[in-house]
Symmetry: C2
């Protein structure tokens, strides 16, 4: 099997880690970096990982897409708040039959990208990972790491397990990343939202980590009520799942080490929060399906306020 | 007309101010203080007021109710989080035909007090005032000051304007406090909740003053949506009022100087917040009337979490 070349658009704590793993496994990888480009070009990546630390002294690092070669797979690993840049960033690095791999959270992103690069296959990669950037070119992979791959369909129906998914999944597997191939991207995204919607928003609004949210009876109940709203919205949008899935999410979070959700980290650093991808798009999808989710909507408005205050300094 | 004697249970920024005004107007007033008793006994009150500063060098100040004489009117001006103390505090200072005047925010307090002192008339005084304690025995009256008086009825129906209301209202009027006599206590309380429920809770959760909440389109919309939930709950509980009242509340708040709601002050000082009186009791009343108020319930759970975190240090 011919190896595929990868472009990582936005090589931060997530894109940098997965890209480094792919390169380590023998793939050709090209990294687009906003901040640490010069550093990474000269010294490569330093990865502290719970699975074993490693270094990649030589990597292809770029500050501009015009310097990058077109690739077989273009992984979108920017924060979704930067997605307005994709119209400029994507076309130059995407081979004629290249595939876009969306490594972001939230709903509706594949639809937006499909409009930018019509005719290209688009895959979603749901990343279950705790990783932080702790210095220039230096990433700390704390926990987890597995991804769930699924392919986008224009009509949002299940696409099944495709050859493109298998090929990309095999590369990640070879790189030591546990991979699950899922037939239905939309349902996979809603299921990830069951976790992301309550914990990201409440951690910001209540200034708390996951263990604090789980330890208090009121916040714990609110987490579960919000999860039920996500499930009702998902069901109305054609992605039903039952209460047992929610119980598994709660139990999994109970077992996690105290964890600061990514939106909380963004908030603390006064970076833009991924509110539209994780809240706005799901709420609009639910509304289109005739479902209101008032707790989620309340959280959405609160987050929009906090985000605006952060930007105003 | 014979003058009435007043006991002020909990002479803080609110009870201290109104009690001082009543004494200034010639009433006999007895103050129960938790913290500044010795200071106030020796030096009296110093009031900085937007209506003119004044001092009362000699006042009756007490640390214990057993030292106080029974009074005609016993004003309850504690924080409602302290109401578990009223079973001990009220009976000793209440004359046989004495009246209880509840100067607290929230719903359901008169019912609780009626169980403690059966057979006594209970009036609610809704206080529209911005005042802070700025030192021992030293109160700053920043703005407003008017009160709305209404009498509690066991069946929660409108009691009309009673003789007891007129007598107490006259004392306050003589003390320079604008007074409105209202026929329906329950509706008056719900109408005050239209302001208190959105602004108190959101100011705590979003760390904001009133002007910040009004300036951002998302928080402003959330304020209005929460007001509509209060109106729906009030209507279901037999106290209907229309959307024009909400518009007046919003316009009034737009004209206010930036204001830190009392619950926000309590939160910042890590004092217990009046969550049950302002949120828990109205939510339970609404639920009994078959109405859910999910935005208010979300805020309630968030506040309970923050309150618990404050107490845990």
């Amino acid at each position: 099997m011919q190896t595929q070349s990868y472009a990582i658009i936005g090589a931060g704590a997530l894109g940098g880690f997965y890209g480094a793993r792919l390169q380590q496994a023998g793939c050709e990888v090209h990294f687009l970096l906003r901040h640490d480009c010069e550093r990474v070009r000269q010294h490569g990546w330093v990865i502290d990982s719970k699975d074993g630390d490693f270094k990649l002294p030589q990597v292809h690092a770029y500050a501009e897409v015009r310097d990058m070669p077109p690739c077989d797979v273009v992984a979108v690993a920017l924060k979704s708040t930067q997605n307005h840049l994709l119209a400029q960033l994507l076309p130059p690095v995407l081979k004629k039959d290249g595939i876009v791999l969306v490594m972001q959270n939230g709903l509706g992103i594949e639809e937006e990208i499909a409009r930018l690069v019509p005719g290209h296959r688009i895959l979603g990669a749901l990343c279950f990972i705790a990783s932080n950037k702790i210095g220039p070119g230096h990433i700390h992979h704390l926990d987890y790491g597995q991804i769930k791959l699924a392919e986008h369909a224009t009509d949002n129906r299940p696409r099944g397990v495709t050859e493109a998914m298998r090929r990309i999944g095999a590369d990640f597997q070879r790189a030591g990343i546990p991979v699950e191939l899922a037939a239905d991207l939309r349902t996979a995204r809603w299921q990830k939202l069951v976790w992301n919607i309550p914990y990201n928003g409440l951690s910001v609004v209540l200034n708390a980590d996951t263990s604090e949210l789980m330890a208090n009876e009121n916040s714990r109940l609110l987490v579960e009520e919000i999860m039920l709203e996500v499930a009702a919205a998902a069901t109305a949008c054609g992605s039903p799942f039952d209460h047992s899935f929610i119980k598994v999410m709660l139990a999994t979070t109970d077992r996690m080490k105290p964890y600061r959700a990514s939106m909380k980290i963004d908030c603390d650093l006064r970076r833009p929060m991924e509110i539209e991808a994780i809240y706005g798009n799901p709420l609009r999808a639910a509304a289109q399906a005739g479902v209101t989710a008032l707790r989620i909507e309340t959280l959405y408005r609160q987050l929009k306020f906090i985000d605006a205050q952060n930007r105003n300094g």
